[in-house]
Amino acid sequence: MKRFEQDKINGLEMRLTEQELDKRLDSAGQQQVRTMLQAMPEEPLSLSWRSELNQVLAAKRDSKIRRRRIAWFLSPALGLGVAGALAVVTMFKTPEVRTSQISGDTIEAQLVASHRNSIRIADVTGVGLNSYEVIEGKNTSTVTPGSDLDGVDFGSL
């Protein structure tokens, strides 16, 4: 039946243009039906229906107000909690030393290698000797006890 009805609607749409349909809808017979429908009396709703609706609406409104109040209390508390947690995390976080690996014979690599080398030398020899001297010292003979300078009287100089 539904299919038949749909076919009827489709058939009507295909057969008639919108202007023709408008014309038909404006015909006296069709307009009479409209007038009759508009003249149909309205069925009033009871007072008990209305009071019941008022109760439901009041309950909905109250629950909404309650929810809003709870949200009003909860949202700052939640914000404080999150802020506290963030503060704790930030305070106790150990600083991470990030090293970047530089490879190859680039200038950067050479600079880093030179810097590391100087740090190592400073660790071994202490302050007062620079890397140039140490590197030079590797190639020259070191001063040993019992050398030519042993006999020199420094006091007479």
Partner: protein, 209 residues
């Protein structure tokens, strides 16, 4: 139908007082309980009349009407004002009726529309009750019309009621129902033709008696 509410006059019919309605809508958006009560006063009978004819069971219709207003109250913040409050309320009512019909999945005694599309003549009515300017229609005739409306499919019934009873424009009905304007017009034509057929049968029986 017009209702006088306090100092403002709120119309539920054709002559809608837009300024006062807008003021009430604005208050309703702020969840003003009193303002919403005024809207309920203005539209409850019309919405109920529509739902009553859509679902046929009076108690169920009252429940659905209540649901319409509860939903409207809860979602008034989302009402964008692009259509009138009346259209918006009828849209909610229509959707609830369709939802209910889908749940029940019933096919209410749909009658054959065979031949109805060809009917296009006016009634030749001996009865004075059929005069267009006559406002009062007796209860018997109302019952016949109600039976005829109830025997239609929901598609035809909703278009007929929304256009002819509630006076909504084709475009708004098309948007509400989700079909093109042409389909709304076709449905309206068939619904009216069906009602004509039903009334003709009734009158023929009356005359025969």
């Amino acid at each position: 139908m017009e209702l006088c509410i306090g100092a403002t006059r709120l119309s539920a019919g054709k002559q809608t007082d837009h300024a006062s309605e807008l003021a009430i809508v604005e208050r309703c958006r702020k969840q003003d309980y009193e303002a919403f009560g005024k809207l309920v006063d203005a539209y409850q009978n019309r919405v109920f009349g529509f739902v009553r004819r859509m679902v046929s069971n009076a108690e169920e219709a009252a429940d659905i009407t209540q649901d319409v207003f509860i939903r409207a109250f809860q979602s008034f913040g989302r009402f964008d004002g692009r259509c009138s409050v009346r259209t918006w309320l009828f849209r909610i009512a229509y959707n609830l009726c369709i939802d209910r019909a889908r749940k029940i999945d019933r096919s209410p005694g749909e009658v054959s529309l065979q031949g109805t599309a060809e009917i296009d003549e006016t009634f030749d009515l001996p009865d004075g009750r059929w005069q267009p300017d006559q406002i009062a229609i007796d209860s018997e005739l109302c019952a016949v019309i109600d039976v005829a409306i109830a025997s239609m499919s929901e598609k035809l019934r909703s278009v007929l009621l929304l256009h002819d009873k509630e006076d909504l424009p084709y475009e708004e009905i098309a948007q509400m129902v989700g079909v093109p304007v042409g389909t709304v017009k076709s449905r309206l034509f068939l619904a009216r033709a069906h009602l004509q057929q039903h009334l003709r049968n009734y009158l023929n029986t009356e005359v025969a008696q």
